[in-house]
């Protein structure tokens, strides 16, 4: 007899069974042990060698399995990320999903002219303010890569602009270890010192190995800096099946996971228990255009498999969704945003980035962050499932209303409609006459309207004047010093 029926049902999804996880994991361990990875940083090589890894010359390091298992065991299984005001806002781990933008889009579809042009500094402020206003955007990336800031300073400037225009956690890129040190100095100024920052981190460093199976000196320098200073790090490769990795998805996954886990080993050897999220983006190279697809169905399969693996490891896992290969907001954008966001949520990925992306990671169009937010709302409602206790089974009200009656005026309807039904903010549900009467607005029009409205009315919580001055001084000093 079955007892203890759960009162809550929820969509459940995984694509690897336990035996398949074990098979892939064993293949990863074999690659690390028998092939190894290139570790282009002397300190990292020494660290590995000191713990039993085999340095084979030419910076090739073979990593025995126990080192990998130790790193998986010592890395934290969840990561609490705070906002600028030291309030915990993300608990990365388990199947908890959080969404945000990405970094570094060099082109922007102008909100006014709708032309595709170079990204500028004011675009970073625009996307930050829009992201700050949206309920389903949990963390903020620079979104764009400003071309009007001298190279070598743009990541620092981006971080500064984001911190000044939002209290949400910042997912940031740093160009080099020196860059990272400057950004860290800024973050310390905001938090009130290194201790306060590592106790209440409001930033996540975005960093990656180089597929196949290599860690650059820059990447490792930043990785070790993060570990030493307990700056949350996201270290995950972007592999292209068929060029920087095997064409088969299983093979691509094995190589990418080997990269991620070897990074994890170096990170945990640098400082045990230091905060890290990882995972992989193993997508396809388009064999006709030689471009990187951000939304291929194959990427979604490796994304799901990666989530299954890292849930099995008990480690916070990175994700990618709310992005499109289209160069301009269109129907393709809609289909790809919906497909990828639902998939990432079903996967239970934790730090889901690249919301609002176009053009295979090259084009920004700020109103699409609002489109992602709306779609995430829909997806989150779906993921919430529904209750099946007696109140929700509603037998009393069904009996009361009876055949041919109407539930609309019942108290039960009033009591539950808000929690049970999702209400769109942007998507149309008007009937035809009302839609015509109100100007026949398409989703695109409404997104642009909403973006302009947010920019005209939303006031992000300001950063204290003395801290702003301090950030300016840090930036000016770096500007003066040069590289």
């Amino acid at each position: 007899m079955k007892t203890g029926v759960s009162n809550h049902c929820q969509p459940q999804f995984r694509i690897l069974d336990d035996a398949q996880i074990e098979r892939i994991h064993q293949a990863v361990l074999r690659i690390l042990d028998e092939v190894g990875v290139r570790v282009n940083h002397p300190e990292a090589t020494d660290l590995l060698a000191g713990h039993g890894a085999r340095v084979m010359g030419d910076n090739l390091v073979q990593i025995p399995s126990p080192l990998v298992e130790d790193a998986i065991a010592s890395a934290p299984s969840n990561l609490v990320i705070f906002n600028r005001n030291k309030t915990p806002v993300m608990d990365l781990g388990g199947r908890r999903i959080y969404f945000g933008t990405g970094t570094d889009l060099p082109k922007t579809v102008d909100l006014q002219t709708r032309e595709i042009r170079d990204t500028r500094s004011d675009d970073i402020i625009t996307s930050t303010i829009i992201s700050d206003a949206l309920p389903n955007i949990d963390f903020i990336g620079s979104y764009g890569l400003p071309r009007d800031v001298p190279a070598g300073l743009h990541y620092i400037r981006c971080f500064q602009m984001e911190a000044e225009n939002s209290i949400k956690p910042i997912f940031f890129t740093a160009g080099s270890e020196e860059d990272l040190a400057v950004i860290w100095e800024m973050a310390c100024a905001i938090a009130g010192g290194p201790e306060a920052l590592s106790d209440h981190p409001f930033l996540i460093s975005y960093n990656e190995p180089t597929s196949p199976l290599a860690h650059s000196k820059e990447a490792l320098g930043k990785l070790m800096f993060c570990a030493q200073n307990r700056i949350p790090l996201n270290y995950a490769p972007a592999l292209l099946a068929g060029s920087s990795g095997p064409v088969t998805l299983a093979g691509a996954l094995v190589v990418a996971v080997a990269e991620a886990l070897s990074g994890l080993v170096i990170h945990q050897l640098t400082r045990k228990g230091a905060p890290i999220s990882t995972g992989v983006a193993a997508t396809t190279m388009d064999m006709l255009e030689a471009t990187v697809s951000y939304t291929s169905p194959e990427f979604r399969l490796t994304h799901s498999a990666c989530a299954d693996l890292f849930h099995h490891y008990g480690l916070p896992v990175w994700g990618t969704a709310g992005c499109s290969d289209s160069q301009y907001p269109d129907l393709q954008t809609g289909a790809e945003y919906g497909f990828t966001l639902l998939n990432a949520a079903l996967d239970g990925a934790n730090l889901i980035h690249d919301c609002g992306y176009l053009g295979q990671g090259f084009v920004a169009s700020p109103e699409l962050i609002i489109f992602a937010d709306e779609t995430i709302g829909m997806v989150k409602r779906y993921m919430r499932g529904f209750e099946i206790d007696s109140e929700h089974l509603a037998l009393d009200v069904i009996k009361k209303v009876g055949p041919g009656g109407n539930f609309l005026q019942e108290k039960h309807t009033l009591d539950f409609f808000m929690q049970e039904h999702w209400q769109p903010g942007i998507f149309n549900r008007k009937n035809l006459p009302n839609w015509i009467k109100e100007g026949q607005k398409k989703t695109d029009d409404k997104l642009l309207e909403k973006a302009r409205e947010i920019l005209a009315t939303h006031q992000p919580e300001p950063l204290a004047a003395e801290i702003k001055n301090e950030l300016d001084m840090i930036f000016q000093y770096r500007n003066f010093k040069g590289d």
Binding site: Q409, T413, F417, N431, P433, K437
Partner: protein, 210 residues
């Protein structure tokens, strides 16, 4: 102001018992009927309508505000002067002959009641002659006919024809339903077309010159 404000808030919050209790207390303490009606019940429903129009509140909340308003109205009605009585309107509603869809029609009824009108609901599958007979019997100002099926739309034309034949020129006909249009409304000679339940209230007010 205390009691009128209590009534006003009870209607906005959709608290049926509170609204009735407020009106009763108001009547007992000698507050003018006109103030309880206009500053309490009707002012609250105006705000509810406004909020609904802005998308800040939803249909179930409007319905419960309307119920609260009705509860207050039932207590006030015996105290109405003739002038207050005349400012309202009595509306006969029903789903057209051959059609049993009534969700839209019910919603219109609730919204009209919420706006302070008296509604007599004849139910579903109502024959044209029933609409007209009942309108005469109830001394109604307006007949509202609803249809979802395209096949039943023509019985609406029959309602208009019948009341014209009887020379009931002051009796107006308003139509509504998903397959309808303003063109169809004009074609059959109906007086107004409501795009949705809220619009039906607007159109009824226009027809009554309110």
């Amino acid at each position: 102001m205390g009691i009128i404000e209590d009534v006003y808030i009870a209607v906005i919050d959709g608290k049926v018992d509170d609204a009735a209790a407020g009106v009763e207390q108001g009547l007992n303490t000698g507050i003018a009927v006109d103030d309880l009606l206009k500053k309490g019940l009707l002012a609250a429903m105006d705000l509810v309508g406004e909020r609904f129009g802005e998308g800040d509140i939803f249909i179930p909340q409007v319905i419960w505000s309307a119920k609260a308003m009705q509860a207050g109205m039932d207590l006030l009605r015996p105290h109405f002067t003739e002038g207050q009585q005349a400012k309202s309107a009595r509306i006969i509603i029903g789903t057209a002959e051959g059609d049993i869809h009534d969700i839209g029609k019910n919603l219109v009824g609730m919204m009209l009641e919420g706006a302070g009108f008296e509604v007599v609901d004849l139910g579903v599958g109502v024959k044209p002659e029933q609409f007209v007979e009942k309108a005469v019997e109830e001394k109604a100002d307006i007949i509202g006919v609803s249809a979802l099926l395209t096949t039943t739309m023509m019985s609406m034309a029959e309602v208009v024809k019948l009341k014209n034949e009887k020379g009931l020129s002051s009796l107006k006909v308003i139509v509504g339903g998903a397959p309808l249009s303003l063109d169809f409304c004009k074609e059959i000679g109906a007086d107004a077309y409501g795009v949705d339940a809220m619009d039906a209230v607007v159109k009824v007010k226009e027809l009554m010159g309110l």
